[in-house]
Symmetry: C2
Subunit: 262 residues, 2 copies
């Protein structure tokens, strides 16, 4: 019996006021314990443009220089996170907005420089998460809402992938809860045919995953999500569900939409 | 015996890296339970200028329009708050950054429009503070760090005076703790002669306060602080201490510097 829902919502929902409002209503309506992890959306780029902060990308990955970590701390850790909290409060959900630096819940290490210097990007020190304050907040009836930021313990905030934060929290909390980890994204699930939005694969287990990889039907965009998902499953998380924000919160007890990974 | 320190630090310290570093080291070194409330400093004005957000003032008070509440949510609730948290973590203090919207700790009402429309400014609903999650965080050994923001419970964040947040929290927590409320500012304390920085009045009680008012020796700037201080004392707070950030944290058990109000 699932008793903790950990839900990651991406920028495509954050950026769309109508989608976001529906999502927050559905999220608030989930009974029991839940955690939200949000991405940033395009607002950081827009405000960065206004501030003259140029987004640098290498191989499609944003480089987080000093100006950019301040930008995402403002926009993800401040504007987006606190607006989500205020809106969830209005929807009757007792949200509390956090980063991984808060209560030292998610220690990270600045990504070592190899071919690429990613700048102020954090790799989660997954074995060192501090779940005690998080469990205290859950037991007190509050709903933690995480911005995609961590810290190095030496005073430096770090930009961190929201999918990874979600899976790391799910794994760390699996010792105390039966966790369903839900990734909301812009598709109805993992697709057998990227051109057909209805071609949702309902179930993926390790054998099916190997077969899909061999058939090369999976797009590059979905592979990191699936890697995160299997890493979670292999480390104690009960279920991972991937699908559209409109569908995956409607079925919090019995899975009826999206792709279930187990 | 004081068992909770509630400390408000203003923009003059936030804006000065050397002062701030000293302050955070001293704050982190205070044993036992403590809460920090911070102001914003000039960085909001600087970033606002870059974003083309004009600060409007009426009678010396900033008007918080829609662009400005987003700005202060980013800068106070995001950048300043999370940098303080990361730096306190580095100093060994298990800080957790919050606004009044988080866990609905500080409900507020948008200030009613009379002569002046202050915009998205919140007046604290002092009788309705939710201290249970705050006490849970204190008992769990974490140190709450508040940005000067509240919310109306209907989804709107509100810009709120940090001194008022500090006194409201101090009063609300007086049912469970013996609270010393400390206001750090740029002077050594309340001055008998505003031109003489050493003319610190060491003790103010209601009788002395009336006498000082009659003598008209108090400047306009200090009067709201003293009103907040007496409001706190009259509502259960054990002690209020006003003085320079360098002095007032050094004497957390026996008062030796600054102005004590009781």
């Amino acid at each position: 019996m699932i008793d903790l829902f950990i839900i990651k919502v991406g920028g495509n929902v954050i950026d769309n006021p109508v989608l976001l409002q529906d999502f927050l209503q559905q999220f608030a309506a989930i009974p029991g314990k839940k955690i939200l992890i949000h991405g940033g959306g395009k607002i950081a780029t827009r405000i960065g443009d206004q501030l003259g902060i140029v987004s640098n990308y290498v191989d499609g990955r944003r480089i987080t220089d000093a100006a950019t970590i301040d930008l995402v701390t403002m926009v993800y850790g401040g504007l987006v996170n606190k607006q989500l909290v205020a809106q969830l409060q209005a929807a009757g959900c007792n949200a509390i907005g956090l980063t991984g630096a808060d209560a030292n819940i998610i220690p990270a290490v600045k990504r070592p420089v190899k071919e690429i210097d990613y700048g102020f990007v954090g790799d989660v020190r997954a074995a060192e998460l501090h779940t005690a304050p998080l469990k205290a907040l859950l037991e007190a009836g509050t709903t933690p809402v995480f911005a995609p930021l961590t810290h190095d313990g030496k005073g430096q905030l770090l930009n961190t992938n929201a999918d990874t934060i979600a899976s790391s929290l799910a794994i760390a909390l699996s010792d105390s809860y039966q966790v369903r980890l839900i990734y909301c994204f812009e598709k109805k699930g993992v697709l057998r045919d990227p051109a057909d939005d209805e071609a949702v694969i309902n179930l993926i287990n390790p054998a099916i995953y190997q077969q899909l990889l061999a058939e090369k039907v999976l797009t590059d965009g979905i592979l990191p999500k699936l890697d995160n998902a299997f890493s979670a499953i292999n480390n104690g998380v009960k279920e991972v569900l991937i699908g559209h924000a409109k569908d995956v919160l409607n079925n919090t007890t019995t899975q009826v939409a999206g792709t279930l990974i187990c």
